[in-house]
Symmetry: C2
Subunit: 223 residues, 2 copies
């Protein structure tokens, strides 16, 4: 092993030790794997001549698509879907348009191993498009319009979505103020877990998660 | 009201009464709505010059797509997906290549309002491609190959899926016979509900379900 790669190895270990103390659900070895994987992903960004401050929107979107099957292709004829950029916004905590190493690992800790409480918090952040701590009628309408397939036979498909927003409010708006607070959302999801992703898929399914963990943790450990 | 439509109405009511006694989760009025909706769907088949013994595969597929967003468009570059035809096979209990009125209502009772036990049974039937009461390694491989997005960077993407099949067996094959019996599958899903659709989406999401119920039950009741 050269001095350079030995130094590199040492640096990654130190960084992994620090991050594993700040982020839940991953041990030091797993964080090391995630750092190596992040470097590979960042290298792919750099190779295509893009900035390397972190994962940009384009790269982030393609990672989510390739690894977790998260995509908006299924509603191709609609306006550009919000889900990916919205997930991006939730990962990119400091809002600098790049997902840094730490933000990536923090996001993955919820994606891959989050508790129900963490997932409820995450989904609420994704759906709260303007980050004002409420999911409003307008936000629900916007999210459902993009995530639901419309029936081609309907004369005014927006009407159906408006009705659905009202049904959802009736079901989830416990304090009757015409919008969903975090507490409304949390209560509803705890009563019916299926409501977690009510306004659009923003978490990977269980097999994609297994496949990703296998790819990052198992294969890299063998090397 | 003409004698004809009054007769029609009477017939639908009698039919609804019979079916509502045989199928769970829908009352007589709801079955009436489902019969009317079925007639509309069947009329669309007839209008395009197709047979009207029931819903054929093509119509069934488009209904699942339009109403429940169930689709294989997201994996367009893979071989034709099994999920829809497989869901079709599960609805089409008498295996005559048409989903009859009764089969449609029976299927929807699980789709829209099924208990966890009913959904486990349904998903197992969908995944048991050759109906031999086991989900084999080959069936898992086939299902996961079609439902998972592959990583374009992988040299042999089949290898990753094979590994995933082994991980899944380790987790779900309680009696260690190298395949999933219904009892293996049931036990695993009861421990971790997310495993219900482990091998591919075959149930509608909660908002599509709400929207469908609203469309069929609410709007028709207003008429």
């Amino acid at each position: 092993m050269s001095d350079m790669s030995s130094l590199n190895r040492k640096l990654i270990q130190t960084l992994a030790e620090t991050i594993s103390k700040q982020v839940d659900h991953f041990n030091k070895t797993e964080v090391e794997c995630l750092i190596r994987e992040f470097n590979v992903l960042l290298g792919e960004c750099a190779a295509s001549g893009r900035a390397v401050n972190g994962l940009d929107k384009e790269k982030f979107r393609s990672i989510l698509h390739n690894n977790f099957g998260m995509t908006d292709d299924m509603i191709m004829d609609l306006a550009p879907l919000l889900v990916d950029p919205t997930v991006f916004r939730t990962f990119d905590r400091d809002n600098d348009s790049f997902v840094s190493l730490k933000e990536w690992i923090e996001g993955l800790s919820v994606f891959l191993r989050g508790t129900m409480d963490e997932k409820i918090k995450y989904c609420f952040q994704v759906y709260d498009l303007n980050s004002d701590n409420y999911i409003s009628r307008e936000e629900m309408f916007h999210l459902l319009k993009n995530s639901l397939i419309r029936q081609p036979t309907e004369e005014d498909p927006d009407e159906g979505i408006k009705d659905l927003v009202e049904i959802t409010l009736k079901r989830m708006d416990h304090d009757h103020d015409g919008r969903l607070s975090f507490s409304d959302f949390e209560k509803a999801v705890k009563e019916e877990n299926l409501l977690l992703e009510a306004f659009g898929t923003c978490l990977p399914d269980i097999m994609s998660t297994e496949a990703f963990e296998q790819h990052v943790f198992q294969e890299q450990l063998v090397l």
